[in-house]
């Protein structure tokens, strides 16, 4: 992978909320088609990292680089148009809108109608249950179905990188597994995945590489296997004494 250029990169990123220093000198790189994960406890800056990647938070210093271009002052729409999409924490569907409307909103910025149609079909074949419920309001779906719609909505943007905010958050254990299978399935279509997770075991068993964030600083940066084997990580995240 290292012979390719990264799609998305953080170079010495610092962010502040008011006077509070959130991210401290963070460096990240996401390459095409890989699966990476960012681990960290509560308030370690995981969500801020995602928001900064997507342009909903502007860094105070450092560079966010998209395809070699510094995009610090570019709006979210600019990045979404260039293939960065997020599946928000807890799915956050537009509950009162129909499933179809949710999917269409995912493709809000796209102007290629044929491509949108094609992607809709692709999502129906990936998630047949979604197709059955197109006219239903998203809020009335079961948790698992909502997860599918959330993924479908993100895929409708035709992304190259999918940012996933805590995909296992608030899901029953059986659903967590299905959910990671979905992520795997999407990854196999060649879409790079950047996953922010607390469920370190599950995330690392799928990912190629990972970072560990602690109070806004990257403390570990290694391959997934090495991280899984790292004794300190095992102690703090995998619940071993």
């Amino acid at each position: 992978m290292s012979d390719q250029k990264p799609i998305l990169e953080f170079r010495d990123i610092n962010t502040h909320y008011g006077a509070v220093h959130i991210l401290k000198e963070v460096n990240l790189a996401i390459y095409p088609g890989e699966m990476v994960c960012l681990l960290g406890g509560n308030a370690s800056g995981k969500s801020t990292t995602l928001k900064t990647l997507l342009g909903m938070v502007t860094p105070t210093s450092g560079e966010v680089v998209l395809d070699g271009e510094v995009v610090n002052d570019k709006p979210t729409s600019y990045r979404v148009e260039r293939g960065i999409t997020m599946v928000p924490e807890n799915r956050r569907l537009f509950k009162r809108l129909s499933v179809l409307e949710n999917l269409q909103l995912g493709a809000y910025l796209r102007t290629d109608k044929d491509g949108v149609e094609r992607d809709l079909e692709r999502i129906y074949s990936m998630f047949p249950r979604v197709k059955e419920r197109l006219s239903q309001k998203a809020g009335t779906l079961s948790g698992g179905e909502q997860q599918m719609v959330a993924m479908g909505r993100a895929l409708m943007a035709d992304p190259r990188v999918l940012l996933m905010d805590e995909p296992s958050m608030g899901l029953a254990p059986s659903l967590v597994r299905t959910n990671f299978e979905l992520i795997q399935q999407i990854h196999e279509e060649g879409i790079a995945i950047f996953m922010v997770e607390q469920n370190a075991n599950m995330a690392l068993s799928l990912a190629d590489r990972g970072w560990v964030l602690q109070t806004g600083r990257v403390v570990l940066d290694d391959t997934a296997d090495a991280l899984l084997a790292n004794p300190e990580l095992r102690k703090s995240y995998l619940g071993e004494a």
Partner: protein, 598 residues
């Protein structure tokens, strides 16, 4: 709701006494409130049925009937057995009514004994007079049997075969409506004059005839036929439905064009007022209903529309305008008005739009007042004449015909054109990309942003579209009234428009139309009289009561947007669907909701 074959039989006096106490207490409180709000006295001069019934008494009678009916109404939950309908329902209703009557009787005695006129204006001999039918204080006790009888009738409606119950209700409503809307009915169809005496009091003989007609209609199955036609329309799909809808629109348009031709001034004026408020409500519906921005200062744009048009057309526009400033014909001024309104929309919107929820509501409330106070201020007195306002706004001249206040028909036609345009625009927007973006922002702003929607621009667009629709309304208002004062743009206008949108059904165009007709048409606008002119004193009271009742019983509005109904009644919905065995519960647990992205 399920109906089981088995029914529990209970004795006539085996009542749910707590419910009796609760409903009876409510009835008593309601009656005392109505009496002390002055309705019986204020409305007594309005005679509905010659020599027999005044509106004042109706205001005291209706409540017992409804409460008596409610007493017998059962909400069946899963696993409960229904009670056999029996004389028990009538007894229950009678008890509730009697308690209500007792309340009035006690009020009468209290009025006779103590003097509380200082805080309560209607604690007066006149009220007592009404309560005693002009007799001695002791007569007040007859309210107990009167209300009990009404309550019993209400309760007995459950016993009667459905057709009889329906016929009774139809008869009562037909007679009451014909009597209450006398002025309007004669105004629209003047030959119907014969129904009424000189003072628009319904003649007793004709009242009985009308009741008989209503009963006959129900028994001949007229109601069912109407329901069938409606169901047919709902079940049609595809091109047939499009054809039917188109036909429906053409017919309603034709009716709307013909009515003002045959009807008198009162109706024309009423329709013009409804139209002006409909335009405002359509605009606010886009802002609040579609984009979810709670704008409490919407009147600002109405004011800007009115003042801009007035300044550009009137010779009396204030002395400080420079000499080169043009005086335009109405339609020319309209163009400028639209531009000015959009700019003001942007100007107010830009700072406001970055706020969310409660803060946004409060700030818009402030801006609504600021605009009015600016027009009123000494500082701009040279431009807007302060409290004197701008007078002599000329009629809108279209060559072929003039639109002016003394000819409400012309105003109505002008309003109709703009309303049709606005309805079309609203409808197209609802199904457009922008409309979808509005709804996304309304549902979840952060996620909408993550989808790449520029939320600031999208919300500004809603503000501007809303401002333009309101400025249309303001421009027509200026031409209609012929003079513009700051007092025409009180905060009350904002509130009433918002109530129209909420009562009609947020986000539903048909709902907004229904809301305007019901509220402005029947009750009246902030200053404009409605059909129930007698009630104009109690207009705000009724608006408030209606709003509370709607929020409790029908939060989706009169003609709901399908989407909102589902959401607000989701529990019932799921339960019903579950009973029908249609919900696929699957093996999954419901997911945990909530949680904010940090």
């Amino acid at each position: 709701m399920t109906t089981t074959a088995e029914l529990v039989t209970k004795g006539a006096f085996d009542l749910d006494w707590r419910k009796v106490a609760r409903l009876g207490g409510l009835t008593a409180l309601g009656l005392v409130f109505i009496a002390l709000a002055g309705m019986p006295v204020g409305l007594d001069s309005r005679i509905l049925i010659e020599k027999y019934l005044s509106l004042g008494y109706v205001s005291l009678l209706w409540l017992s009937l409804i409460m008596g009916w409610l007493m017998g109404k059962e909400t069946l939950l899963e696993g409960m057995t229904a009670t056999r309908k029996s004389s028990r329902d009538a007894v229950g209703g009678a008890c509730v009514g009697a308690l209500g009557g007792l309340g009035l009787a006690i009020l009468g005695l209290l009025i006779n004994t103590f003097d509380l006129r200082d805080p309560l204006v209607n604690w007066s001999p006149q009220t007592l007079d009404i309560l005693t039918f002009g007799g001695g204080v002791g007569v007040v006790v007859v309210w107990i049997p009167i209300c009990a009888a009404l309550g019993a009738v209400g309760g007995a409606l459950h016993l009667a075969p459905p057709k009889v119950a329906k016929a009774t209700i139809a008869a009562i409503l037909t007679v009451l409506m014909t009597a209450i809307f006398a002025t309007f009915i004669v105004d629209v169809v003047s030959p119907l004059d014969f129904l009424y005496s000189k003072n628009r009091e319904l003649k007793l003989g004709w009242a009985l005839v009308l009741a008989a007609v209503a009963v006959g209609f129900v028994f001949s199955g007229g109601g069912q036929q109407l329901a069938r036609v409606k169901a047919d329309y709902h079940n049609t799909t595809g091109p047939a439905k499009t054809r039917q809808t188109a036909a429906l629109i053409v017919v309603s348009a034709a009716v709307l064009i013909i009515i003002p031709q045959v009807a008198g001034k009162i109706t024309q004026e009423l329709m013009a007022n409804i139209g002006i408020f409909l335009l405002l409500a359509l605009g606010l519906n886009i802002v609040v209903g579609m984009a979810g921005i709670l704008d409490l200062g919407y009147v600002a744009f109405f004011a800007v529309g009115g003042y801009t048009t007035a300044v550009l057309t009137s010779p009396n526009r204030g002395e400080d305008w420079p000499g080169w400033f043009p005086t335009l014909p109405w339609w020319g001024a309209l163009m400028v008005t639209v531009v000015v309104a959009s700019l003001v929309g942007l100007f107010i919107g830009a700072p406001v739009i970055r706020m969310r929820g409660d803060y946004l509501a409060i700030v818009t409330l402030g801006f609504g007042e600021i605009i009015r106070i600016l027009f009123l201020s000494d500082w701009l007195n040279g431009y807007f004449n302060g409290a004197q306002g701008i007078t002599n706004v000329p009629p809108a001249d279209f060559g072929v015909f003039e639109v002016k206040g003394t000819d409400p028909r012309s105003v109505f036609y002008l309003v109709l054109v703009f309303a049709a345009l606005s309805i079309y625009v609203s409808w197209r927007l609802e199904h457009s990309r922008l409309g979808r973006a509005w709804m996304a922002v309304r549902e979840d702003e952060s996620v909408a942003e993550a989808m790449g929607i520029n939320t600031v621009n999208v919300k500004l667009a809603a503000f501007v579209v809303g401002a333009i629709l309101a400025s249309f309304s303001g421009a027509i208002f200026a031409a209609k009234v012929g003079s513009i004062f700051p007092t025409s743009f009180l905060i009350l206008v904002s509130i009433i428009i918002l109530v129209i949108v909420i009562v009609g059904g947020m986000g539903s165009i048909l709902g907004v139309i229904a809301g305007s007709v019901v509220l402005v048409g029947i009750l009246g606008g902030p200053k404009q009289p409605g059909l129930l002119q007698e009630f104009s004193q109690y207009k705000l009271l009724i608006y408030g009561a209606l709003l509370v009742w709607m929020m409790l019983q029908r939060p989706e509005g009169l003609v709901p947007n399908v989407r909102r109904t589902r959401e607000l009644h989701q529990d019932e919905f799921l339960q019903d669907a579950w009973l029908k065995g249609q919900v696929d519960t699957g093996e999954e647990e419901p997911a945990v909701e909530g949680g904010e992205v940090r």
